[in-house]
Subunit: 398 residues, 2 copies
Amino acid sequence: MGLKSFIEIHPDSHFPIQNLPFGVFKPEPASDPRPGVAIGDTSWTSRRSLRPVCLTVRSSRAPIASFSLISTSSWVWDALHGRKLVQQFKSCSTEPALRDNASLRQKALVPIDKVEMLVPIAIGDYTDFFSSMHHAKNCGTIFRGPENPIPANWFHLPIAYHGRASSIVISGTDIVRPRGQGHPAGNSPPYFGPSRKLDFELEMAAVVGPGNELGKPIDVNEAADHIFGVVLMNDWSGTTVSPWIVTLDALEPFVCDAPKQNPPPLPYLAEKISKNYDISLEVRIKPAGEEHGHVVTKSNFKHLYWTLTQQLAHHTINGCNLRPGDLLGTGTISGPEPESYGCLLELTWNGQNQLSLGGTNRKFLEDGDEVIFTGCSKGNDYNVGFGTCSGKILPSPL
Amino acid sequence: MGLKSFIEIHPDSHFPIQNLPFGVFKPEPASDPRPGVAIGDTSWTSRRSLRPVCLTVRSSRAPIASFSLISTSSWVWDALHGRKLVQQFKSCSTEPALRDNASLRQKALVPIDKVEMLVPIAIGDYTDFFSSMHHAKNCGTIFRGPENPIPANWFHLPIAYHGRASSIVISGTDIVRPRGQGHPAGNSPPYFGPSRKLDFELEMAAVVGPGNELGKPIDVNEAADHIFGVVLMNDWSGTTVSPWIVTLDALEPFVCDAPKQNPPPLPYLAEKISKNYDISLEVRIKPAGEEHGHVVTKSNFKHLYWTLTQQLAHHTINGCNLRPGDLLGTGTISGPEPESYGCLLELTWNGQNQLSLGGTNRKFLEDGDEVIFTGCSKGNDYNVGFGTCSGKILPSPL
């Protein structure tokens, strides 16, 4: 707290010196991808290009997290290298070598709005959980009715489905409305055409750091050591992620208790300390031609019933191996109040209600709509934020 | 037909000069992975190590298949390079440079049983279809009863689920019995422990060659140009694949008509020519301590209702992108007769019947059982085979 840097940082910035999230960017369109750390409105780069390395990394959370950083995650090494340097001037508030050398500063500090951000990890596998009880309850009520909207097993384990890694894109990428088959009316052939109910889903995702071997599960009380950090995620058609991975270290001041779980989880899911994080989440929809967009929901990461560490431990209990860079989505994060629901399915109750966007209404997303997520943990004198995770809907090709 | 090589090939060999499948192996435990082509009982290697390349490849099927071979599929280039050379002596029956140079032959030809085979591709995403009507019908009957065992939409599109890429292993890898939660009895907590009904699933899988961009589907009539080849696959805990990718070229002499589809598929799934392949498949179970194992089923690839090309086209119709090395499993391949069912669930009707293995019986797999798949297309004077796809069950760690 109270840490200052010679880099000017606005009090509302998502990226003060207490955050230092990791990303990968291209300074120029023809540049090689480069790892960087966000500070204020600039990205600090170690100027190393991506290449395979293998080394032992000392983690600030675990005693020693020894893992091979394979080529798919080589940027991590560079980023950690950068982080170590940045922490030098984090501890002494100023770094003369950089502060007093204007030429070096210009090379090392690149304005974020001038660079192209990339998906910061090679994602081997992507799993999406279903960890918000409010979301599970609303979906169950909509699709199966109000009696027993949540199946009994939902309370025994964090349910997940396996998602597609190839179609994960970086914030700012346009999303083409998908097309496919729909339920036929009576005996006619199935509907074929653009999706009629295109939605967003407000999620966050954990990025796996050190993985595990096939057949060797990770203990739930050691699971945090296998999480490199967290991003915002929109689980729609073409999964969109925010570019800056915020570490659990940076989120530690915003830890809060996870909800009490009843029935108690089986021993392999019972944590000594069960943590959530107080991260305010907000979704705006910006129809084509409008400038700012309208806030349609305000939720919070702390509403999750199953914790990130329970998700990770459950994922490996059957022997499944995780690899560095794997992505574990939380599922849609809905809060208890209607204005905190995490998707249009819930907000409009499957299109039964209209959602007002000022001069216009929505049941589901329309072509040209831009959806913008933001996430931020707000402290007394600084924020730890995630920036934005956005995408605009383009019409289906047919 | 009638092609001969100076390499002696047994008439029953899976790898005559008409096959030339691609694989990746280590000649010695400390060697770098190396691409190779199987001939007879040896593997012919180009002696290049794996490294990223980018070039245009002329395909023998398509006019020109131009695609970037990224690092994940760099071995393909090497293998194709090897294939081109091998085809030189395929066309002239002998290759003097190799035939007459014993030292070169010894270097270039490595006995298959002396090398360690590796998963031959970096699998970005793995999707498993459900394309055998007999399998769908049997599963539906077992779990939902004999009335309408197959849901109506099954006949409108090739259903699939998304599988995990990290746990795909090469033939010969031991498989640890998974553990997890099971349905509780009454009000007691859920069962936790080793899987009680561990099964194999007899499948094959297509390896994607050139991919497609997000939002740009592949036409069903061009889908074959995006399939590099086919492997055997066991979809159990830790998906096992056979090491040699057999090209569609090599399978072309074994093409047969795909089943007539009724109702007719929607236009995006309607093929000008709908091909299956006549590939005999066989599964043996070898209990611990036995030498040979017992054949438990004989099926055939030609029983698939949805073709590989329909699977691939359907996969991309919503805009999903495929990447080189992606794996598309067929789903369990069951034939119409009880002795051609592709998994123990069907063969023992969910454990209601015992399957005889000579001196012992099985309802599901037991620890120590080795399961061995073979696949082979049998011509008049030669075979095009897949070798074997095997794995042995180890007990759960708990």
